[in-house]
Amino acid sequence: MPPFALPRSPALLLAPLLILLLALVSASPAAAHALRVFARLEGDQISGYGFFIGGGRPRDVEWVAQMGGAPLARGRTDAEGAFRFPVPEPVTGDLKITVNTAEGHIASTTLAQSRLLPAQGAPGATTPSAQLPGPATTGPSTTGPSTTGPAYPGQIAPQGLRPAPAAPAPAAPPPTAPAQPATAQPTTAEIERAVAAQVAPVLERLEQMDARMRLTDLVAGLSLIFGIAGMLLWARSRRP
């Protein structure tokens, strides 16, 4: 038995919708709709921002930071959807930052406790160390982060967004930065902060790539939908 009783109608229904579909797909295959939060450690500050996959930032909405379930800080995002607050003094657990747009979009991200520990100042100890910053997460830092004046070039951009460090010298390895004062070896804390500053754009990019929609996924989804329809039709056509 013929699968279509009405040969004209489906085709005509198809035409405008397919045009709409093609226009949308070709317009922006990478646009999407979901709220994500990006956060990173930046010196003694935690900064980050919420973003909608495919564009847009949650401006002037509430954010809440919690450590181990206990409220830690809260505020409203700026015009770029960004937030910023100091690292809490005793790091007692994972840090969770939640952005709520108050109209149904809620997203959160978690910074593991191990990532926060290096930023915590261990007062008193000032042991300059020249070791490479490989085991960055294990060693307790030596100086309080707020006391050190000299920063690596572009280490802390005034605004956390689109950080400058990648711009001037993307290829230069940070640990051997020549701008360091020649008198002292860089301390572990300084190295850690420099590495964190250099790695931040990479983390940011990773987060965005992770959340990115891919055209292949879109095509896969559409193909699945039509495949399901085809199987249903086939199953029905087998019925007498």
Partner: protein
Amino acid sequence: MAHIPDGVLSLPVLLGGGALAAAGVGLGLRALDDRAIPRVALLSAVFFATSLLSIPVGPSSVHLLLGGLMGVLLGVGIFPAVLVALALQAVLFGFGGLTTLGVNTVNIALPGAVVGLALGPLIRRQTRPGRAGALAGAGAAAAVFGTGALVAGALWLSAPEYTPVARVLLVTYLPLALVEAAVTAIVVGFLTRVEPAALAPALKMRET
């Protein structure tokens, strides 16, 4: 907005949404015939793709829902269409979530189905494309606000601290409703002009 993620809603809301969605999908599947299957699949594909295209509005970001259009064209067939598309969005793109699949399906499909059942017969009786389009557009706007209300209700029932603020909802849903109305009016007007029979979800409609 319509994609509520995992981990926000409470269990009773999830179960209730799941039960409602199952009932709707059951109704929709019973209505499927050889003519309806490609229609459901086509609109499901359109919904799947359009939900991925979002535009920043105010503090948020919105995308077309097409609930009104699907409701008019599919009737209760909107439930399986939305369910399949949402499931694929959750799996492929991480929008919404698998546990919230039922609630999200109801939030989008139920207002559309209601609009389709309430306004559909009236729209199909119109002979002037403009009038049919205007009616469908009004229905589409109503479906958008219905979805907004259901999303707000689901959040309010589960986590009062996440309840959307009415003012923010209005700011983001009003432009969406207008755009949605325009798109729906254009499509329905076009179909009324060239192929009115395509507007009927099923051929053997009681009302036509």
